[in-house]
Symmetry: C2
Subunit: 344 residues, 2 copies
Amino acid sequence: MRLVLVAGTTETAKIPGISAAGADPDLMRHTPGADLDVLVHGEPTLAPVVPVSPTGCPTPAVVTRAARELLGFDTLGVDAGIAGRTGSPAVDVGAGAGADVREPTAVPDAEATYERAREFGAALPDDRVVIGETIPGGTTTALGVLTALGEEPAVSSSLPENPLDLKRRVVDEGLDASGLAPGDAAGDPLTAVGAVGDPVLAAVAGLTAGAVESGTEVTLAGGTQLAAAAALVRHAGVDAPLTLATTSFVAADDSAGVAGLADSLGVDLVVTDPGFDAVDHPAMDAYVAGEAKEGVAMGGALRLIDESTASMADLRERIVEVYDRLLAGDGPAVEPAEPPEGGP
Amino acid sequence: MRLVLVAGTTETAKIPGISAAGADPDLMRHTPGADLDVLVHGEPTLAPVVPVSPTGCPTPAVVTRAARELLGFDTLGVDAGIAGRTGSPAVDVGAGAGADVREPTAVPDAEATYERAREFGAALPDDRVVIGETIPGGTTTALGVLTALGEEPAVSSSLPENPLDLKRRVVDEGLDASGLAPGDAAGDPLTAVGAVGDPVLAAVAGLTAGAVESGTEVTLAGGTQLAAAAALVRHAGVDAPLTLATTSFVAADDSAGVAGLADSLGVDLVVTDPGFDAVDHPAMDAYVAGEAKEGVAMGGALRLIDESTASMADLRERIVEVYDRLLAGDGPAVEPAEPPEGGP
């Protein structure tokens, strides 16, 4: 099993009020590279800061990292347009940063990105991959893609109050600029993602299509963004089983409609509740208050803990340690669990 | 602990008769990317073939991968001029392929490569790194660097009969073309590696210098190539303890003189014998016959096994499995050891 984190950029994130995936718009460009660092190294290495929301909610990478420290799973980064610095190697699928979705073409190299990711997904020998994303602004582009494909246009938000009206207006403008009406790109996923998507969606969709071709079990770790990727895969004619693993925060968000979306796409939905309401700690309170909700494969990480003999209490304890180390300056990175020496 | 594999290219490898790190000169360009794939994924993914020598000796990546499957350590690739394809993410230190050492400047971006690698090495939070290389032709460039620095100019070879005369002629030509006499670059490592080195040497040296700056323990996993990198580090004024971990095949090769070199550089030498002469199997016979000897961190992998509770017999058994899977077409890749579920 390998957890694959697809990291990239869309200029859509710069639209004021549309994303909270970074302390301010300038720092937001560093979020994907930093999230990858936190997952792989346990701390930002060449990235400058640990991503936090404007109100201080820490990146979900803290949760996924905590799960990694407990379970020791392999990871792999995919560069689908990382703009800032990262000290974590990532497979390059040739994608540049995505343009603002209101441009006629948001992802000029959508087809090439999809194909390179597909080839790579087909080449991966892992029996199972858990695929997550980190791309600020990605729920807006997800909304764009779902709308273009004619799927239920509902997405979540990193903000407690989902700025859905803003997103819908932005997507409407984007579809207009691309000469598409809602549903015009049904059965034509590359057109959808090229017009109003982002490079991470193209890469996740390609990776998924390639992985299932080669018999790899795929768990899409996320909420509405990964659901949009699943929609692209289904519209590409790929019928293989797919699982969407998300958090209770996304599932509880009616404006997201993730359960209905999964159902209409023929994708199995699994929802895990990390029990953050059982504790009172800055690492987790903001999630209970409606911030962040998902991202950086958090739903998949929770699912992996659920499948293991570790408990949610173990995870919460480890989240506190990771948070304290990163955001309270408490000491050096902890290495992920390694097997006992000499074990098989 | 993390095993870092620095992969790159030098056109020097194309000189007929100088390297056996690939089945033929055309395939040799794929060796570094394929070695990285074998280490990270257990098989070539986007790289086309498992590297073997012209007489069929399998790449030492098979040994390092076997050790990884037993011990489960983390890995990281560094791209110091990979020419072929690879499905393994690698941190880009900005190096292009190195030119033939007989050119006036073999590594035009030596300083930038060294500095980027140094910054990255300093940023790595691991308590210990084990650094290896994969670059066909790299013992010739190592000879060039050692000669330019005024160190004992002795190197090993992937060929049973070390073509030392050929290498010395090539290096003499290279020094001439760069306007250097032996020893002219003493205390000036960037001049040495820029004139007659390769991008992997620049990257390994930078990575090492940066790692020790940040308190990371460094084990250089290799023979004469890593010794040349150690020489660059010493000539950069870095006095921190360094360990060179190599194989008994290199240590037994008098033409290599690795013990004397380590001693004069103030580097601790550890030598591990994998006991390949105790078995009769194509995966290991060629080493006993004098081929390959080292590479792809093999000496470091043997040392890590030695430090663990796994035995050399365990390793040899696992080498057979990896070999059979890769070169006898026996089945899918095996995932490296993962800790028991719910471990600490």
